[in-house]
């Protein structure tokens, strides 16, 4: 049972406030914000309490989505509901941000009114809701010249029109009615992986979580068939055939997916409802089908002046055609480090010392496969002691890899049946949204006696920030149209 729902900006502005049961006053909103700001640390606990009022909140799109409730409510339900609410708002408003929520407040009030009555969740299915929601979304996207780049000379089809702009999937679902029935469907295959590689280069831990997401802009969608790799196998014990088999440990499907063709042909059948939904989730652990995309070779030593020298060599093991983008390595350094001097191998890289997080952040915007980059960091560390070496590491690496999946999962085809009367565009995107890839790379054999006696170790995390949206500017390819 939900007593109130409100949305606050990170500055504490009231964006939306809805009281369902009239049990507590509206002053709880300020109370909540006081509680949030009174706490130090990066994020306040999910559940907070003031007398009988329990606040449960999630953070999405830089906003606090808060529900107040009683103690005996199920936290799973409330949190799932808030997440679902954010997904609905994202579907209806196009994107999640303070601005889009502000501009579409009428729509959000309408949504809340239909979704919750008297504190009880009625429905969150966008199929049902679309009959009730009347307000049009106000799109917050400014006009951009880039949108014109898709238009070829004299309307001819260009190469670009095979590729959708990355923002194509961030528009409100309802406005599709007015755009002359521009019905599109997007299928995203996103994998997040976590890899830990021990100091001797041995793979210590590997975890891949993947999902297939469908975002549907078609007002009436008939059945859709998604064909996966035919060699797709589930479970540890299954015998593997020859060739590039794709294997996952566990797999779960959206309840609307029909699996009658899955066993024989690996085809998922479903009737997608408007908006975004996760069709399939899968996971694979303790076994990496391919080599990790990056390898780090660190060398750390002290020079005569008492400075800390960190020599980092980073190799990208991807095939030469693909590239990692937004690669960033975070190297924790001893407390009190000052004045970083750096030598980077190319000018588009950057590095800075962030004192509050006690780390050096090395950023590489684009990292083509098969290449190697190196960097040398020199740090002044006042009061440097041998034990300070313990504080160096673990190194974490975050990146995005478009067009690649770690498991090798592919979408063979995407068919809508029976055939749509109007032109329906189908887009498929792939990406390894390697979320927490933990690369624990050790020093390797070293002749340096200093290192050995420091007994230091480093892990290197391959990590991709958990942003709300993944954009691959060039990765979106159109299969058929």
């Amino acid at each position: 049972m939900i007593s109130q729902v409100f949305i606050l900006s990170s500055q504490g502005d009231h964006l939306i406030y809805k009281d369902f049961r009239g049990e507590a006053g509206s002053d709880v909103v300020n109370l909540f914000y006081e509680k949030v700001t009174a706490l130090t640390g990066d994020q306040p606990p999910v559940v907070m309490r003031h007398k009988d009022v329990h606040f449960v909140h999630v953070r999405q799109g830089g906003l606090y989505w808060v529900a107040t409730t009683t103690a005996d409510t199920s936290p799973f339900t409330i949190i799932e509901f808030l997440n679902r609410l954010t997904a609905l708002v994202k579907d209806y408003c196009g994107s999640l941000s303070e601005r889009s929520v502000q501009m579409n407040f009428a729509l959000i009030y309408e949504l809340l009114d239909e979704v919750v009555d008297y504190g009880y969740i009625q429905t969150t299915s966008s199929d049902i809701l679309k009959n009730f929601i009347q307000t049009e979304a106000v799109s917050s996207k400014p006009f951009s010249l880039f949108d014109l780049s898709n238009v070829g000379l004299f309307g001819a089809e260009t190469q670009q029109s095979k590729v959708a702009p990355s923002s194509a999937a961030t528009r409100p679902i309802q406005s599709s009615r007015d755009q002359g029935g521009k019905s599109e469907i997007f299928v995203d295959v996103i994998e997040r992986m976590l890899v830990v590689i021990g100091s001797n280069g041995v793979l210590m831990k590997a975890d891949i979580e993947g999902e297939i997401k469908v975002k549907c802009y078609m007002p009436t969608c008939s059945e859709m068939r998604i064909g996966l790799n035919e060699e797709f196998s589930i479970g540890k014990s299954q015998l593997r055939g020859y060739g590039a088999a794709v294997r996952v440990d566990e797999c779960s499907f959206h309840q609307a997916v029909r699996l009658d063709e899955f066993d024989s042909l690996r085809i998922l059948r479903l009737c997608p409802s408007q908006g975004e939904q996760t069709v399939m989730q899968y996971q694979l652990s303790d076994d990496l089908p391919s080599a990790p995309p990056f390898r780090l070779f660190p060398t750390i030593e002290r020079d005569n002046g008492g400075r800390l020298l960190m020599y980092m060599k980073l190799r990208c093991d991807l095939p030469p055609k693909s590239a990692g983008i937004n690669v960033s390595a975070t190297i924790p350094v001893p407390k009190g480090s000052v004045s970083l001097s750096q030598e980077l191998s190319s000018p588009d890289q950057s590095a800075e010392l962030q004192p509050q997080s006690r780390a050096v952040v090395w950023k590489i915007p684009r990292f083509p496969g098969g290449t190697q980059l190196s960097a040398l960091f020199k740090l002044e560390v006042p009061g440097f002691s041998s034990a300070s070496m313990l504080e160096v590491g673990p190194v974490s690496l975050s990146f995005e890899l478009p067009k690649i999946t770690a498991t090798g999962l592919q979408i063979r085809f995407l068919r809508l049946s029976p055939f749509q009367p109007g032109p329906a565009q189908r887009w498929v995107r792939f990406g390894m949204r390697t979320f927490d890839s933990d690369h624990e790379v050790g020093p390797g054999p070293s002749e340096d006696p200093v290192q050995d006696c420091f007994h230091w170790w480093i892990h290197c995390l391959l990590y991709l920030s958990q942003q709300d949206d993944v954009c691959w500017t060039e990765s979106v390819c159109c299969l058929t149209s």
């Binding site: 009239g22 640390g41 999910v46 199920s74 008297y118 831990k205 975890d207 652990s285 407390k335 780390a359």
Partner: protein
């Protein structure tokens, strides 16, 4: 927050709203109303526009209608009279051919929350229940609940209730679920909607039609149902099995909750259910939403209390990610500690060591104390890491490490040598009072093992004037006196200075009192002082608790799937059980002299834990609680009583008692006989060692007891009381007691019961051998019996008579029992 110029805004808006040109242009009219709502949600008081908005309500534009309703529902309570005007429009809308308009009108009619409007609302609501559109019925059903809560004291309309019950068979699943919700609210005083067999099976059959929210609601309400036969129970369970492994965490959690409540009599089935949800729970830990991850983690902690091996091989799933927020990291660290075994300890410690230098200080502390807790079983490896961390020479890390070491030494005294050499010379880094407190305790207790202690203490004593923390000063006093006992020559001078300062100049009463006490104690002679201060250095009985036995599921099932496990520090049983917390330290080293302090302290603690875990205190014991707080009471173990003496005394008074007949309180000229019932049925699962340890903390000696889990369960104990408030007369009394838990209704005492006390002690070995079988046998009975709350019967005998002291003793005993049973 009122905006500057909000009055202007309101005036402008009013002008525009009442402009006939605007009113005729639908788009402009709607935009103006949008502005009003925007101002409203930003916090501007726009209640002055109420009458204009009421006019705007009469429109064919549904979007505008919805906007106006948002406004009206927010301000209706401020303008009850004007709201009457709206009701006409709303009632007209209820006749609209469009079902959306009908449901909208009905919903907002009930959302106005005005008791004065009830008479106008009832008729459309009744009609709404029979509407052909499901969306109207959904709203109408909940509308009755809203109406009932508006006028709670009015009578429940039986016709409506019947109608709602019949709507449980509505073809629309949301209407059905809403009926359940509405009936729950309307019939709250009768205990909610009646869940009988037909309704249960109807609901279960339709579970698949509901969406996840409906399923959760149905599953929650079904928790009240008790199947009539075992067959029925298993039918229900097999129906629910699919939802148990649902990919939706809310459904999975609600199903598990229902499972546990249905299987409260069948622990084996409950455990199997826990195994079954392992997959979904682990998946929820990998959910994209951090909040969901956190929720799953907190519930996994609950599950681990009953099934410690549940996640053993999946420990890698609980390794922290680099960018995870601190609250997730800390929970993961807590889970990791539970998962340690011989195979993974090296990997786990490696991982934990990485967290010790986390940027977030509290995460680093959590990791350090986690290593300390693992150190209770794997002390060598952990001490190595902790010693290494001291080398970092960072304030907060050093302080946390010293505190962790102190806690570790308390449980594992064999570590003391390593710890002593490690803490030497780290006093300079510790800035916070808790860390210094811990360091001083270590230095005092192990003063003879560390050569440099006198110099360290001298630094502290020289700086005592600028010391802010009272606790540190008191610990410094104790530590210095202790050191004086083992190294008098080096310490005498500084002890003198410290005592002089504390007695002459110190303003804090506690510190100067303690200094005076030690001063007088030293006057009594070195042997006396030694007796008081050379206390136990560790509590070996706590060592038994390291391998905590698995708790029965119904210890925590009632908080499963509530917000309780998510609250910070909700699951601290570990640190509370084992003397890890610093407060445990403070009252242990002082055995007798200031016991009333510690007693009242433990009152505070246990009372809190009693309320926290929602255990019920019987009235009499809570009375006794207040009584004893007012009268300081001191218990002591001397003069000691041998088992034979105990038996004699007990039987002698028993004989007297039997002659008198069983009355509640029987007062003779020189002794009191008293029977009480304490409501803590779980106490008999305590291990004897922990019970004994807990009792000794408050100076109650346990003489004999039956092994845990056997029924009837008995404990015999005694203590001596001394009343402080009447110091001149200073009469001590001897209290003998028996705790009896039969697991059934409190019976009359049987005659042969008393002999068991002594026999139990002698035959303890034998009984322990039998324990296994006894446990297996009683497993089933236990849980069954536990469902009906049974009490522990406490029989007390006192000589000579002092009712106040007896009551005080009883309250101490009660709190100890409650504390124990809430911990376990």
């Amino acid at each position: 927050m009122p905006y500057i110029g909000s009055e202007d805004t309101v005036r402008d808006l009013r002008r525009v709203l009442s402009n006939p040109n605007v009113q005729s242009d639908q788009l402009r009219y709607r935009n103006t109303i949008l502005k009003v709502i925007r101002a409203m949600s930003q916090g501007v008081d726009v209640s002055g526009l109420f009458s204009e908005m009421v006019k705007a309500c009469a429109t064919v534009d549904i979007v505008q209608k919805k906007l106006v309703y948002v406004f009206l529902c927010s301000y209706a309570t401020l303008n009850p009279e004007l709201s009457l005007l709206v009701i006409n429009t709303l009632r007209k809308d209820c006749q609209d051919p469009n079902p959306m308009v009908r449901s909208l009108a009905l919903r907002n009619m009930t959302n106005l929350r005005l008791p004065s409007l009830v008479e106008y609302v009832e008729q459309p609501l009744t009609a709404g229940l029979r509407d052909r559109a499901a969306c109207v019925r959904r709203v109408a059903v909940l509308g009755w609940a809203k109406l009932h809560n508006l006028q709670t004291n009015s009578e429940i309309d039986a016709a409506v209730v019947n109608e709602l019950y019949s709507l449980l068979r509505d073809p629309d699943p949301v209407v059905m679920v809403n009926c359940l919700r509405a009936l729950e609210e309307i019939l709250r005083e009768e205990g909610g909607v009646a869940i009988n067999k037909p309704i249960t099976h109807h609901l279960l059959n339709r579970l698949k039609e509901c969406d996840i929210w409906g399923q959760c609601e149905v599953l929650r309400i079904l928790q009240r149902y008790r199947p009539q036969s075992e067959d029925e129970l298993f039918n229900i369970l097999s129906l629910l099995d699919v939802s148990l492994i649902s990919p939706h965490p809310p459904v999975m959690a609600a199903t598990l909750s229902l499972f546990l409540s249905l299987c409260s009599g069948l622990p084996a089935v409950g455990l199997a259910a826990l195994e079954r949800v392992r997959g979904p729970l682990l998946a929820a830990c990998g959910n994209t939403s951090r909040e969901m991850q956190f929720t799953a983690l907190c519930h996994i902690q609950l599950l681990l209390r009953s099934l410690p091996g549940l996640m053993g091989e999946h420990y890698k799933r609980f390794f922290c990610g680099y960018a995870e927020p601190a609250y997730i990291k800390q929970r993961k660290i807590e889970v990791l500690v539970e998962l340690v075994n011989d195979d993974n300890v090296a990997i786990l410690l490696d991982e934990l060591r990485g967290y010790c230098t986390d940027v977030n200080i509290s995460t680093a502390h959590a990791a350090i104390s986690a290593i300390g807790r693992i150190g209770r079983s794997y002390s060598d490896k952990c001490l190595e890491i902790l010693t290494e961390l001291l080398g970092l020479k960072q304030e907060h890390i050093t302080s946390a490490v010293v505190q962790t070491m102190r806690d570790l030494v308390w449980v594992c005294p064999q570590c003391s040598r390593t710890v002593c050499s490690a803490v030497e010379g780290c006093e300079a880094e510790i800035q916070d009072s808790q860390g210094r407190h811990a360091l001083l305790w270590l230095l005092g207790v192990y003063g003879e093992q560390v050569s440099s202690v006198p110099y360290t203490l001298e630094v502290f004593i020289d700086g005592v004037r600028s010391e802010a923390s009272v606790g540190v000063k008191m610990e410094l006093l104790t530590a210095t006196v202790r050191l004086f006992l083992c190294r008098p020559a080096e310490t005498q001078d500084m002890l003198g200075r410290l005592l002089h300062y504390c007695i002459e100049e110190e303003t804090n009463m506690c510190v100067s009192d303690q200094a005076l006490l030690y001063y007088r104690l030293l006057h009594c002679g070195i042997e006396e002082t030694r007796k008081v201060l050379q206390c136990r250095r560790s509590d070996p009985s706590l060592g038994v608790l390291i391998g905590r036995p698995a708790e029965p599921i119904n210890q925590w099932s009632y908080i499963f799937n509530t917000l309780e496990p998510l609250r910070p520090g909700a699951i601290e049983t570990e640190s509370a059980t084992i003397g890890g917390s610093p407060e445990h330290m403070t009252f242990d080293p002082k055995p007798n002299n200031d016991l009333s302090d510690t007693l009242s302290y433990s009152f505070g603690k246990t009372v809190r834990s009693v309320t926290d875990t929602a255990l019920q205190c019987t009235d009499s014991s809570s009375d006794a609680l207040t009584a004893s707080v007012s009268a300081p009471l001191s218990l002591s173990l001397s003069p000691a009583l041998s088992p034979e003496e105990f038996e004699d005394l007990w039987l002698q008074q028993q004989a007297l008692h039997v002659e008198q007949g069983p009355e509640k309180i029987k007062a003779e000229e020189n002794y009191v006989y008293m029977e009480e019932h304490v409501q803590c049925p779980t106490i008999f699962r305590c291990s004897p060692q922990s019970l004994q340890a807990a009792m000794q903390l408050v100076n109650i000696q346990t003489l004999a007891f039956t092994p845990p889990h056997t029924l009837p369960w008995r404990v015999y104990l005694y203590t001596n009381t001394q009343n402080k408030h009447s110091a001149d007369t200073c009469h001590g009394t001897l209290i003998l007691g028996e705790l009896l838990y039969t697991g059934e209704e409190i019976q009359k005492k049987s005659k042969d019961e008393e002999n068991v006390g002594v026999e139990a002690r002698q035959d303890k070995r034998e009984e322990e051998r039998e324990e296994d079988t006894a446990e297996g046998r009683s497993e089933k009975e236990r849980v069954k019996k536990n469902t009906a709350e049974k009490g522990i019967k406490v029989t007390l005998k006192q000589q000579p008579r002092d009712e106040k002291a007896l009551k005080g003793f009883l309250s101490v005993l009660t709190t100890v029992l409650h504390a124990l049973s809430s911990e376990k």
